[in-house]
Structures are given as structure tokens and as C-alpha cells.
Amino acid sequence: MNSNSVKKTHEPLFHIAKRNGMVWWKAWLIRGISVIISLLVCAVIIVSLTHQNPLEVYGAMIKGSFGTSRKFWAMLQNLAILLCISLAVTPAFKMKFWNLGAEGQVLFGGLCSMVLMFMVGDRIPNILLILAMLVASILGGIIWGLLPALFKAKWGTNESLFTLMMNYIAIQLVSFAIMVWVPSGSSVMGLVNSNTRAGWLPDLFGQKYLINILIVAVLTVVMFVYLRYSKHGYELSVVGESENTARYIGIDVKKVIIRTMILSGAICGLSGFLLVAGTNHTISKELAGGNGFTAIMVSWLAKFNPVMMVLTSLIVVFLQRGAGEIATKFNLNTSLADILTGIIIFFIIGCEFFINYKIMRTNSGKEGK
């Protein structure tokens, strides 16, 4: 009776099981292999779509970051900015506060600097101007980060939507400022104070970006210590892991949310300052250039460890610069570069699955089949 009513189905061939931790060198071996596979896949795509030699393309990618001294410093500068924004979003994300507004926080922080740089200009000593810009940017970033946190703490609003919307407000404010400041009606603002260099961060040892890089390096260490060894860092991890546990041990959850978003916003504001005073000396809607979102990926990939973030942001910046380089050198559409970047990052993230899980063959019912 049963054999009639039940259709025999084949047993599943494989099943997935969670691994119980993995030795570090095996994990890195898997990561290494996945990068190699991603390069092979990219090679197939390069050959089939463009008929270029993939090795030459990869060589060009490396040259994009390490080709010349100028490119190398530019790469470090990009790295510093991306890392700085990643450090900014990390405490918020570790607390499970989905801050999608880093873009706007950076932009508004930068705008605050630019207001002083443009309007006050040479009227006060440069050192005072720069300090004032620094403070203004940090405050600007704090305001942009604090608003959603206050609403979340008080009324339980959704922080992802709130922070995301704040981005658009910042973009519009910048557009408005440029419209007011640039008399010709052009939407592009040229270098500000290019004669007097008022409000420009000075060169250090002849290197334009060295101050930026040093500030971010110090910040990385500070953030690492803050998250791992300070009481505040401990509190925000507990809130992120379980709000109930936090309440149970008497942590004031609202206070921690607000405090952490002040910190997150402040560092975003600092990034805006570094971009305006140290790098661009002008402002545009694309000041943050999507780094506010890329930073989220950098932070998660590094599992919120600031030291690891140096590595993950290096990978991202390297790929971005390499992509730009091959686009110009081989006269390719930038979309191809984006495809390659996407494939490589897909493999880097995807291999974490194989580090956390294993796939096993099902062996059952040898007899009677």
C-alpha cells in the first residue's frame, strides 16, 4: 500500500553543516584561494568581452595604485578617507544602529568647513581658521548624526530611513550653497582661496596628504582601544548584542545610543573636514563620493575591528583605483571595471560562507537501494 501511495524520491546528495571554528591559517588559505578563483573568473570575462590579455589588465590595475609615487600617495589619501568614514560608522553598526547617513554626515561636516573657509577666508590667522573649521565640521557631523539618534531614542523611529533621508537634505544644502557662492551660475565650485591657501591643511615633509593620513592612523588606534578596552565600548557592544541584557545590567540604552551617534557623527564630520581642508579645497555634492556607503561594507568585512579595516579598505581602494586605471589605459567602458570589482568583492565576501560552513556528502542506505 505504502509503496503505491509514496513516490520514492532521491535523497539529497549534499547537506550543509556549520563549522565549529577554523584554524586561522586555513581560513586565510580559503580567502587566498577565493581571490585566485575570482581573478580566473575575471580573466574569462576580460578575454571574452574585450579580447585583452588579462595579465596586462591586472598589471594595469596594480599600476593604478602603485605605478608612480603620485599614484601611491593618492591611493593612501583615498585609503585614509575611506578608513576614516569606516571608523565613524563602526561604533554605530556594532551597536546595531543602522547608520546609512554617513554620506550626509560627511557632506554636512564638509559644508561647515567650507562656510568658514569661504566666508571668513584670510580675515583671521590661518591656524585659527583651520581650528575653527575643524570644530565646525565635527559639530556639523554631530548634528547630522544626533538628530536620528534622538528621534530613535525618544520615539523609536526607524534610523535607517531617517539617516538615509538626511543625506538628501545635506546634498540639497550643498547645492544651495554652491548656487549662492558661485556667481556665474555654474554648478561647479572651483578651488577656494587658491592664492592665499587660507584654510588649507599645510604640506608635511612636502607631502600634501600626509596630515590626513597621520590623523586617520592615530584615529584607527584610538578607535581600536575605545572599542576593545573602554567601558563605553563595552556598553555599546552589549547594547548591540542584546538590548534586554543591557537593560538587565542597568545600562541606559537611550544614553548609549545618543552617545555613540555623537561619536559616529563627529568622526564623519572630521572626514568632511579632511576632505575640504586637506584634499579638495572645494566642495561638491559628490564630496563623499559614495564612501559613506562603501564604508559600511569595509566595516562589516573587517568584523568591526579597526585594525582589520586598514586591510579591507585597502582592498576596496585598490580595486577602485585599478578599475579607473584600466578604464583609461585600455580605453574600456568603466562598466567593465565595475564588473571586475564586483566579481572580486563577491568572491571575497562569499568565501566567508565556506569558512563558517562545510558541505558534506550524504551517505545513507547503502543496502536496499
Binding site: 509503496s3 547537506h15 534586554n244
Partner: protein, 513 residues
């Protein structure tokens, strides 16, 4: 007995490095009740889930009525006429009993709820269920919901019924009713497997009993020829004494006075009504009640996690002798007032501990504020972690292992160990031994007893009435958020407690509304 209804041969199932079942062989005959006995984590539920199509075995064979079966989904299981009643019910709240019964069935012809109700009533009268087919699920008590689940599988023509810990949520009276129904089904020729870890139920209901230990099949006995001691030994692997050493309470002093506590939750439902009691130092006060009768809210109100509308909670400080009012204080304020209150909450990893942190950092939860400066001091918590791991025999690779990787019993040892290390004067525990093996359970009972002897006021919220009666000095019974009695544990009976547990409620719905 010709061919067995179910025969399992060398079933193996692993999850990662954990072997849940290893070469398990088992037979169940038609017209018998088989108890599947084992401690928590011994693989009982996993084994039955493979019969009911939720998991697929890594190796081994399943024979149904003598023919090999491949069961890949609950639907396959149903085609083999196997029905499983899970611990957590899978019912749609706003549907009636009859609607839930036919839900998901693909029958030919028109959907006719009247016909279904008639058939449900027929099944009910045949086996002695008391249920109204048109009653909505949300109006039902836990035992009625369970009845619907059972009817659901019977309606689908199940000949093999598997019940996963069916008595865990029932009062003693409801348990007896369920057993009567099961006996009728047995007479009707059905094969019934009941998963349990309660020995007296095994002896009460089953014809045979199969024992699993740590995923391995230990043996099968005829129930009539065995006893509790033998079964325990099979379950645990060694002889174990099942007596809890209850000492006489000495020098009792009133420690915590709760008076006319009323609490309405965010949905506007009254969860605590007019609760008054006194917890005395040197005594264990048990709290009994059906799950969700206000136990959680009561403990959380005392701990400062639950706001309440009226009433007072007064703590008497053993050092100064002064009374401290805890009304609507936050946990931090309570601590700052010098109240030594320890709390082992029901949700261990979601409230008492942080699963992703290691043992040291979990120790620090209670003490990280100590010391000046902005930085953490991990030395003292690390020492405490080492001490607890050693004293309470916590099985862990190291004190740096994230706590979610530990087994349930070890997690609980860490939590209880930490709370006791605070040298409390009031110790509250909610379901302190849920999911723990017998050894760990007795370790916890002994810890609570030694706290009591030190003069701590222990509040023990429990679910196993036998344990409550053996461990506690007094037992307070909650029903629908109200106290229905405070009885002396030495003189009370399970029947009396069961009666008090349902005194206030009619069919599970709140009587006061």
C-alpha cells in the same frame, strides 16, 4: 505482533561536530505506547524529527510497516500516516479548531466546514476529547490547543503518533486526561511514541521504554519490569540519588515584601493583579503556575525591568536593617541603593548573558563599572571566570570561548555562578534547570540550597511540580497574574498545586476582563 509499525536501523545524524544520533535502532509496534526517554540533548527530538520528515538522516534506514521508507518532508511523513505533535504548536490563532484541522489539506470536492466540524466532533467523541470545533484558537487554553494538534493528525488518518514532551505545558489533571485519550488510541491499534524526560510519566503510561543517552541507543525495557532508579541509571550512565537535601529553614527574616502589585502590559492586558507576598531570608519560595501566568513580569518588576502601576516592593537591608522602597527604580538605581539582588532570568542568552562574548566578558556584565577611569579592568572578571569554570565544572575549551558555543547546562552554570558571586541577599531564578541534564540540575539545586543556608531569600520559579515540592519551603501559585495560594511545600500535593494553577482561569482566557 507481526511487522512493527516503525523500525529504525542504524540511524545517524550529525550537526557539524555534534553527533545528535549515532546508530540508533528502534521499533514501535501498533497498539502500544512507547516512551522515548533521555535527558535534554540526548537526541530524542532529532530522532523523531527524522521520522516526521523535518530532518533527513545522514545514514541508516527507516522501515514503515516493514517497507523501507524515504521521508524527505512532513508531507512524505503524512503519506506514511505518521503524525507528530510538536512541543510548540503550529496553529493559526484567529482560525477555529476545525479550520486549523483542514488547513493545508488538499481534498477533492468543495470546502465544507460543516462536514469538517462533524468529522472533528466524531473523532473527539471516539477518543474522549473535549473540544468545540468552532471555537477559535486564541480563546483556547494550552491543553485545548494541544488537543487540536492531536485531532489534526488524526483527521489526516495518522496511524503513528509522535508526541514531543506533551505534558510539559499541562497541569497534573490535564495530563491525566491526555493519558486517558492516549490509552484509547492505543486500544484502537495506533502506534504511539511519547518523548519525555519525566520518569513517573514513563511508568504511568507506556508499555515499553527506549532510552537514549548522548545520541546513542542504550536499550529498551518493558515498563512493567523496571523502576525509576534503573531508568535513571540508563539515562545518566551512572547511579544517581534523586533526593534533594532540604534543610530546615533557620533564622528567617523578612527580606522582600511585595504588596498589592498591579501591572498592565503595553497591550493593555493585566499581567499582574494584586500580588502580595513576602520572601524571607533563609527560605526558598517556589513560584508555580502555567507558563505565562505572570511569573516573568513579577520577577522583572522586582528587578526593575518592568514598570508597574500600583503596589509596592520593599526590600529590607540586612546590614542597616532599613527598608528600601524599590518602586519603579531602574536596575542601576536598585544596585546603587545597595540592594543585593541577583536575578537568573528565563532567557539566558537573550538577557542574562551575551552569547557572542566570552566567559570573562560575561562575568564583567555585572561588574564592569567598578573602578575609576574610562577603561575596563579584565583581571578580576578573568579570575572569577576561572573560579566558576573550576568550581562548577563548566565544560568549555577555554574562558575565551564565546558563550553561545557552550551547551545549555554550561551556559546556565556560568550565569548562576556569576549571580551567586555577587553574594546576593535576594536570589531570583526563573526556570533555572530548564533544558539541563540531571547532573547539572542537581548541581543547581545544591547551589540554591547552600544560598538558602547562608540566609539568602531565594525565589525559585519552576515548572516541574515534583521539584518544587522537594526543593522549596513554601510555594506560591500564580494563575492569570494573581496569587491563588501560598502553601507549605512539605504538606502540599501535586493535585492541590494543579488545582490552584487553574483556579482563576476559564479555558485559558483571562477571567478578569
Amino acid at each position: 505482533m507481526s511487522t512493527p509499525a516503525i523500525e529504525l536501523k542504524n540511524i545517524t545524524k550529525t550537526f557539524g561536530s555534534i553527533t545528535a544520533n549515532k546508530n540508533v535502532c528502534l521499533t514501535v509496534n501498533s497498539g502500544e505506547i512507547l516512551s522515548l526517554l533521555g535527558e535534554n540533548g540526548s537526541g530524542k527530538t532529532t530522532l523523531m524529527n527524522m521520522i516526521s520528515g523535518i530532518y533527513f538522516p545522514d545514514a541508516g534506514q527507516i522501515f514503515i510497516d516493514g517497507k523501507e521508507a524515504v521521508i524527505r518532508s512532513p508531507k512524505d511523513a503524512f503519506d506514511y500516516k505518521i503524525g507528530m505533535i510538536h512541543q510548540h504548536f503550529k496553529l493559526v490563532d484567529i482560525f477555529t479548531a476545525a479550520e486549523n484541522v483542514v488547513l493545508g489539506l488538499k481534498e477533492d470536492g468543495k470546502y465544507n466546514i460543516k462536514e469538517v466540524e462533524k468529522k472533528v466532533a466524531e473523532i473527539s467523541s471516539r477518543y474522549g476529547f473535549e473540544i468545540s470545533p468552532s471555537k477559535k484558537i486564541y480563546e483556547m487554553s494550552v491543553s485545548e490547543k494541544q488537543t487540536v494538534e492531536i485531532i489534526k493528525v488524526l483527521y489526516r488518518g495518522a496511524n503513528i503518533l509522535i508526541l514531543d514532551e506533551p505534558t510539559a505545558v499541562l497541569t497534573p489533571q490535564e495530563t491525566q486526561k491526555l493519558f486517558a485519550v492516549l490509552r484509547k488510541m492505543k486500544e484502537d491499534g495506533k502506534a504511539i511514541v511519547i518523548i519525555t524526560h519525566k520518569l513517573h510519566e514513563v511508568l504511568d503510561i507506556s508499555d515499553r521504554v527506549s532510552v537514549l543517552r548522548k545520541g546513542e541507543y542504550i536499550g529498551t525495557l518493558n515498563t512493567a519490569e523496571t523502576n525509576e532508579a534503573e531508568l535513571t541509571e540508563m539515562m545518566v550512565g551512572k547511579k544517581i540519588s534523586l533526593d534533594i537535601n532540604r534543610s530546615e529553614p533557620e533564622n528567617c527574616v523578612d527580606r522582600l515584601k511585595v504588596e498589592s502589585l498591579n501591572c498592565i502590559d503595553s497591550d493593555g492586558v493585566k499581567v499582574l493583579s494584586d500580588i502580595s507576598f513576602t520572601a524571607r531570608g533563609g527560605e526558598i519560595l517556589g513560584v508555580a503556575g502555567i507558563a505565562g501566568s505572570g511569573q516573568k513580569e513579577l520577577l522583572e518588576a522586582i528587578a526593575g525591568l518592568q514598570k508597574y502601576d500600583s503596589g509596592s516592593i520593599i526590600y529590607s537591608d540586612p546590614k542597616s536593617g532599613k527598608d528600601v522602597n524599590l518602586k519603579n527604580k531602574s536596575p542601576y538605581q536598585i544596585k546603587e541603593l545597595g540592594v543585593r539582588l541577583s536575578f537568573v532570568p528565563e532567557d539566558r542568552l537573550g538577557m542574562g548573558l551575551v552569547g557572542n562574548m566570552d566567559i570573562t566578558d560575561n562575568m564583567m556584565l555585572r561588574s564592569y563599572r567598578k573602578g575609576r577611569g574610562a577603561f575596563l579592568k579584565r583581571n578580576a572578571p578573568r579570575e572569577l571566570a576561572k573560579t566558576i569554570v573550576k568550581d562548577l565544572e563548566v565544560v568549555t575549551p577555554s574562558i575565551n570561548t564565546p558563550i553561545r558555543r557552550l551547551s545549555g547546562g554550561n551556559v546556565q552554570k556560568v550565569l548562576v555562578g556569576r549571580e551567586i558571586s555577587l553574594s546576593p541577599s535576594v536570589l531570583m531564578t526563573a526556570y533555572a534547570v530548564r533544558g539541563l541534564d540531571i547532573n547539572s540540575s542537581y548541581l543547581i539545586y545544591n547551589l540554591l540550597n547552600s544560598q538558602k543556608e547562608k540566609g539568602v531569600a531565594v525565589i525559585f520559579v519552576g515548572e516541574d511540580l515534583d521539584v518544587l515540592i522537594d526543593l522549596c519551603d513554601k510555594i506560591m501559585v500564580l494563575s492569570s497574574g494573581a496569587v491563588t495560594g501560598i502553601v507549605d511545600a512539605k504538606t502540599t500535593t501535586k493535585e492541590e498545586l494543579g488545582r490552584l494553577m487553574t483556579k482563576n482561569s476559564k479555558g485559558g482566557a483571562d477571567s478578569e476582563q
